[in-house]
Subunit: 117 residues, 2 copies
Amino acid sequence: MEDKINLATKLATFSEYFSPRTVAQLNNLDVMVVKAKGEFVWHKHDETDDFFLVLKGSITIQMRDGNVTLGPGEVFVVPKGVEHCPVAEEEAHILLIEPTNTPNTGNPETAATRRVV
Amino acid sequence: MEDKINLATKLATFSEYFSPRTVAQLNNLDVMVVKAKGEFVWHKHDETDDFFLVLKGSITIQMRDGNVTLGPGEVFVVPKGVEHCPVAEEEAHILLIEPTNTPNTGNPETAATRRVV
């Protein structure tokens, strides 16, 4: 039987920003936690929507036609093909869901290596 | 542009137990919130894993080979084909993710109608 996953416990295992850790899989998707602080890079995913749930802190998802700011318990799905750039003034913790092996920068050459914790 | 989704605000719009509400879509999946109290029914989904994240309270996911009890910030993915029966002594709030039109009881004839809020 699989174990349950405590998201805070998983988040305590690393400190790097914008370096998602896969904590579970759901069909062909990775369920990931990530710590964010500062500005990420503008990018898009042509093949998949991009799910964000803020667990702690606050992030702003900048998009070309406007921004969305999320606090704890708030969800936003960036539709496939939409350019976006997350930014967090203070450290924020986020649950992400994307198909396994989706490059986090939208580009396999610059993407973080997939890491499972 | 899509709006952000505040999960607590969505949960405040209904009171029925075991009646999931779709709050967003991610590719071909429904992101749902549900209130649980009491015991659901034993069922399985042959075609999909079943994602649970507890937002408030506590639920136990009973399975034939053991139980998993989840509190806030804890995730469990029931693998496809595994019989399970969630139970909550007190009201619990849960985030669920499943492919759109997955019957919540595993059986289209007894499943809750899909509702989007």
